[in-house]
Subunit: 199 residues, 2 copies
C-alpha cells in the first residue's frame, strides 16, 4: 500500500464530473454514480495510508477530492474496531462503497415526530455500494462490523459534505445541528501523471 | 502566516469554475479570470507555509487545486533567490499573479525556426497579473527579481498543467519534451468551512 497509484481515484472523479455535466436527475446519479463507485472500491490498491489511518477515539473522515463548485465531494471514512457514527442525516444524495473490512448500516425514519428503525440493520460487505438521500431514506447509523480491525469506506456526496448543515438525531427524534468538517488538513495529490509516466 | 484561512482560494476556485461553466472564449477567460486572480493576489494572508516553501536547488510548483475534469488548475510557484525557469511554453491559457516579491518575465517567439526575444524583459511587481497562451504569446522565461529572498506567484492554467506535454526551448529553437509534474504529494484542504465557523 506504500506505492499507491492515484489513477483510479482520478478516473472516478473525472467520470463522475462528466456524469454530472449531463445534469441527470438524482435517480440517475445514484444509479450511474453507484456503478462508478462500485468499480472504484473493487480494487484496494489506490488509497494512500495517510487517508486510511484510524483514530483510537472516534471514526475519521478524510476529504479526498472536492469539485470546484462543490457539486460533489469524495471522502474516505475510517472506523476503528467497535467504532460507529451517531444517528445522522445527510440532506443531499450520498453513495457509500465499502473498500476494506465490513460495515453495519441501520436505517431510520421519523414517524410522527419519533425516530424509528426503517427496516433491519444490514451488513455491507467489501465491494458493496449503498445510497442515501432525502428522497430514498436519509437517516442512518453506520458501525464497523469488525471488532478486531478497521473498516474503510469511500463516500461520495452531492455537495461539500464537510460543510453541510445537517443533524445528529437523538433517540427521542430531537435534531442536534451538525457540521462534520474533515479530519485532514491536506488532500492527496491525484493529479501528478508525470510520476505515473516515469514510474 | 501560520493561521491562514482557505476562504480566499476557495472563493477564487468557485468563481473561476462558474466563469468556465459559461463556456466563454479564451479572451474572456483571460479578462474575467485575470480580474479574479488580481483579487486573489491582492491579499497575502491565505497561502499555507507548506505551499510557499522554497527549495535550495530549483524553483517549486505546488498544486493547490485541480478541477474535477481538469478544466483548470491552480498552482503556487516559488522561486528562491536567483532562481529561474528554463525557457518554456504552456500550450494552454495561463494566468500569472504575483503574490509575494517580484518576478522578471522575458517573452520569446519562434521566428523562422529560431528563438528570439519578443519584446523586452519586464518586471512583475506584487499584485500584477500577466497572461500567456498560444494565441497571445506562449513562450517565456520567468526569474525571481529578488536576489535576497523568495518570490511567490499564483498561476492558473486551462488544464491540469503538471500533466501537460509541452516543451522547454533551447537557445537554437530546439524543443525538448517536458512534463512538469508537481512538487507536492498533498494539496491544502480548502473545503473545511466548519473550522472557519468555529474559529
Ligand atoms: Fe452517513
Ligand atoms: Fe510559464
Ligand atoms: Mg470541478
Amino acid at each position: 500500500m506504500s506505492h499507491t497509484s492515484p489513477r483510479r481515484l482520478r478516473d472516478f472523479v473525472t467520470a463522475l464530473a462528466a456524469l454530472l455535466d449531463e445534469q441527470p436527475d438524482e435517480a440517475r446519479i445514484l444509479d450511474a454514480g453507484g456503478a462508478l463507485l462500485r468499480d472504484l472500491v473493487a480494487h484496494d490498491d489506490w488509497l494512500p495510508d495517510d487517508f486510511a489511518a484510524p483514530d483510537p477515539e472516534r471514526y475519521r473522515q478524510y476529504l479526498l477530492h472536492a469539485d470546484s463548485r462543490a457539486r460533489f465531494s469524495v471522502v474516505s471514512f475510517v472506523w476503528g474496531p467497535g467504532q460507529q457514527t451517531p444517528i445522522h442525516d445527510h440532506t443531499v444524495w450520498g453513495l457509500i462503497g465499502v473498500l476494506r473490512g465490513a460495515e453495519i448500516s441501520q436505517p431510520y425514519r421519523i414517524d410522527g415526530g419519533a425516530l424509528v428503525a426503517d427496516g433491519p440493520a444490514h451488513r455491507l460487505e467489501r465491494g458493496t455500494v449503498e445510497a442515501v438521500s432525502p428522497r430514498i431514506g436519509d437517516i442512518h447509523r453506520v458501525s464497523n462490523a469488525l471488532a478486531d480491525r478497521p473498516s474503510v469506506s469511500i463516500h461520495v456526496y452531492g455537495d461539500n459534505i464537510g460543510a453541510v448543515r445537517r443533524s445528529v438525531l437523538l433517540d427521542d427524534g430531537t435534531r442536534k445541528p451538525f457540521i462534520s468538517g474533515y479530519s485532514n488538513n491536506t488532500l492527496p495529490n491525484i493529479w501528478d501523471l508525470s510520476r505515473e509516466v516515469t514510474a
